[in-house]
């Protein structure tokens, strides 16, 4: 068993869960106190000692089943069949009876809310429909199996013997579908020997979301990570020596070492400060596909930071902080910004130079070394004056300035892109067209090593 457990940890490490020796020792210690025969206890004891975050936990769940219960599953199907044959209604003719009997048994399990039975029956149903012969798309297969079994929500047609059947409500049915889905996923994992792409890290590695709702969750995750990193890192080393105040209590305490004479002054420690963030987002047509992504980034940022002011710009710049603060629904926000933003003037082409001028005159007084400015845009000026010197002034006033460009680095400075002129003044310029890039940006900002491409 020890070897098995070690093997399991090896697999976990392979999927990026940090399992140290101390975790392993804890796991063994914990297992001495729970009954190995109880599956739930065994699993929980392992999980609590090994998987120490929610993400780790998700991976753990997936791998745990795959690692420990691969064989057990086949057995369960076998057993499920025999149990069913013994306890089920009198035998009819082979195949046909099986379907009806199965459907009946599932109804009973659903009505009783018996999770274990539902799981076993879900396995049984899948095997009855032929493992691995489905469409390969889990969602489709779930519905296909459900329909074939004649399971619908609402009032049920009377049973074959004429007795009334209790109605199944939506939630109960969804519960069974969840079991089906899980079992199918497991089946898929086994056949392909890989984890399904439901892991957040893999999920982030996708191209730009085209519909706003599609990847909002992933963006939110990346941004909330960004928030944590910005809140804890990067700021504490700045300006430590300037403007400190004497801590009387601690000075007195220190003076005891010298017999009550305060020889050494003690200062109040600096508290980490909250970042103040200004986000400028290009919403012109040249970045149409990207601006949906950017707006969702903005949307997520607003959920995370209290001191955040956001602006959208095309030819002019307009503050949209209020819109984000009052609306929760992303679709409404997107619509409001396009209708009320008032950022397009005549041509609808981005005018970066003018935007910087406006930004500088309107906002720059609020900028201080504490603030971080993030620009989301492609730096395509449509042949207009880029006013890089104005941009430099903005950069100078702000503590940090980052540029996220929705175009691959290859296209920078090509055509009317004047990225190079701006890049010089930035603390960092990044290509950002997938959520993975966003992650990378977060890492760099936080001072960690950039993630591998």
């Amino acid at each position: 068993m020890a070897a098995k457990l070690l093997g399991f940890c090896e697999v976990l490490r392979g999927e990026g869960v940090a399992v140290g020796t101390s975790e392993l020792l804890d796991a063994f210690a914990a297992l001495e106190h729970v009954e190995w025969t109880s599956r739930a206890d065994f699993r929980e004891a392992l999980a609590t000692t090994i998987a120490k975050s929610q993400d780790d936990r998700r991976v753990f769940e997936l791998l745990f089943d795959r690692y420990f219960f691969r064989n057990a599953e086949a057995e369960a199907v076998q057993r499920g069949v025999t149990e069913h044959d013994e306890g089920g209604p009198p035998a009819g003719d082979g195949e046909r009876f099986d379907m009806d009997g199965l459907s009946e048994a599932i109804r009973e399990a659903i009505a009783a809310g018996d999770e274990d039975a539902m799981r076993d029956l879900a396995r049984l149903a899948i095997s009855a429909f032929g493992r691995g012969e489905g469409s390969g798309v889990v969602g489709v297969d779930v519905q296909r199996i459900r329909r074939t079994l004649g399971l619908t929500a609402g009032t049920q047609p009377p049973a074959q013997d004429g007795s009334e059947r209790a109605p199944i409500d939506r939630d109960q049915l969804t519960g069974f579908e969840r079991h089906l889905r899980r079992e199918l996923e497991r089946d898929l994992i086994e056949r392909t020997e890989t984890l399904p792409p439901s892991r957040p890290l893999a999920e982030l590695d996708r191209a730009l979301p085209t519909s706003p709702t599609q990847d909002l969750a992933a963006v939110h995750r990346a941004v909330s990570q960004m928030k944590r990193r910005l809140a804890t890192l990067g700021h504490e080393q700045r300006g430590r020596k300037k403007g400190q105040t004497v801590d009387v209590r601690r000075t007195m305490r220190a003076s005891l070492e010298t017999g009550g004479v305060p020889l050494r002054l003690r200062y109040r420690p600096k508290r980490p400060r909250r970042p103040e963030i200004y986000v400028l987002c290009d919403v012109s047509t040249s970045v149409t596909s990207a601006s949906v992504f950017f707006l969702s980034v903005l949307h997520a940022l607003h959920d995370s930071f209290r001191k955040l002011r956001s602006f959208v710009f095309i030819e002019r710049i307009s503050e949209v902080t209020d819109v984000f603060e009052h609306e929760r629904d992303f679709a409404v926000i997107a619509q409001k910004i396009s209708s009320e933003g008032g950022v397009a003037d005549v041509s609808g082409y981005t005018d970066y130079g003018r935007v910087w001028l406006e930004f500088l005159t309107e906002i720059s007084e609020d900028l201080d070394p504490r603030s971080t400015v993030i620009v989301l845009g492609d730096a395509r000026t449509n042949g207009r004056e880029p006013h890089a010197e104005v941009f430099a002034q903005v950069a100078e006033r702000a503590g940090r300035l980052f540029w996220l460009n929705p175009e691959p680095k290859l296209y920078w400075n090509y055509g009317d892109s004047v990225m190079a002129a701006y890049e010089r003044h930035c603390d960092g310029a990044f290509e950002c067209w997938t959520t993975k890039h966003l992650e990378n940006f977060v890492n760099v900002v936080a001072g960690a090593a950039p993630a591998a491409e």
């Binding site: 101390s22 729970v34 609590t48 804890t232 601690r250 305490r253 005891l256 017999g259 980490p272 609306e327």
Partner: protein, 293 residues
């Protein structure tokens, strides 16, 4: 409940009014058996702090609580020298030699015990709750490591102070920042989430036994519906209980649109959230009322 099984722990917790689910009971059990701290994470208001309190009640141990906040330092968390008293001692001790004074003023008499020190030094075993650890900075976490792994505190002037009894340590975090690996490695990890329908109903009924079962079910269903919306602050378990009590006071028979709108502010506490909830949930509630009555 010092020994026994997971089921015993669960029962003991239930006896003091905390309905733990299986993982929570198991982790509490393991924490006592292994003598390891427990790190509890989860959304706000799922009973993380309550778990520690329940453990203290169930084990009959005193609860020592350290509420974390930004800028918390060791003087407030661990110990501090009582410098006023020390000064007095120096001044009062006129003709004593410096050597005597020095030895004297750094004795435990002049030490102010803060929560962590209290928990370690207590002659009786205690439950130590370090609440909202994610609010502190990373330096503070590092400072905790010695305490969490060896249950000891080193004071330069006094030497090492080891725990005489093994405290149960519970750390809670709202997940607002990633905790360091070093801290996590020393802890058992428990993720608490909102309870499922049946369990939340039990919890509500436990705290408001007068509430009828149908109303309790309806209440929990509505709460779950509200949690399903994308709110700034979803209602916590404590708020479900508050709401149940409110409904009792109002003498409500059923949760219809009117009662809901009147008492909604108990569970939803943001202006934008209130609008959203009224729009989405309130409307759903109206229909059954009309068909029924």
């Amino acid at each position: 409940m010092a020994d026994g099984s997971v089921a015993d722990v669960k029962q003991a917790l239930a006896d003091v009014g905390y309905l733990a689910d299986e993982p929570a009971a198991l982790v509490s059990f393991l924490a006592q058996q292994l003598g390891k701290p427990v790190l509890v994470e989860g959304p706000a208001g799922v009973g993380k702090t309550e778990l520690a309190k329940a453990l203290s009640r169930a084990t009959g141990r005193e609860l020592v609580r350290l509420q974390c906040y930004e800028g918390l330092d060791e003087a407030k968390a661990m110990y501090e020298w009582n410098y006023r008293k020390q000064l007095l001692r120096i001044q009062a001790g006129g003709e004593d030699g410096w050597g005597d004074v020095q030895e004297d003023i750094f004795s435990s008499e002049f030490l102010l015990e803060r929560p962590l020190m209290q928990a370690i030094a207590s002659p009786e075993p205690v439950v130590l709750l370090i609440d909202e650890i994610d609010k502190t900075d990373q330096e503070f976490e590092a400072m905790l490591l010695e305490l969490l792994s060896d249950f000891q505190i080193t004071i330069p002037e006094l030497g090492r102070i080891e725990a005489t009894t093994m405290p149960i340590v519970v750390l809670t975090s709202n997940d607002s920042r990633e905790l360091t690996e070093a801290l996590k490695r020393r802890c058992l990890y428990l993720w608490l989430d909102y309870p499922d329908l049946e369990r939340e109903m039990e919890i509500v009924r436990l705290h408001t036994p007068e509430l009828s079962e149908t109303l309790a079910r309806k209440l929990v269903e509505v709460i779950r519906m509200v949690r399903g919306l994308d709110l700034k602050k979803p209602p916590s378990i404590a708020e479900s209980i508050d709401w149940a009590r409110t409904l009792l006071l109002m003498g409500a028979e059923d949760i219809d649109r009117e009662t809901f709108n009147q008492s909604m502010s108990i569970i939803v506490k943001h202006r934008t959230d209130i609008d959203l909830v009224a729009e989405r949930v309130g409307v759903k509630l109206a229909d059954p009322l009309r068909t029924e009555g």
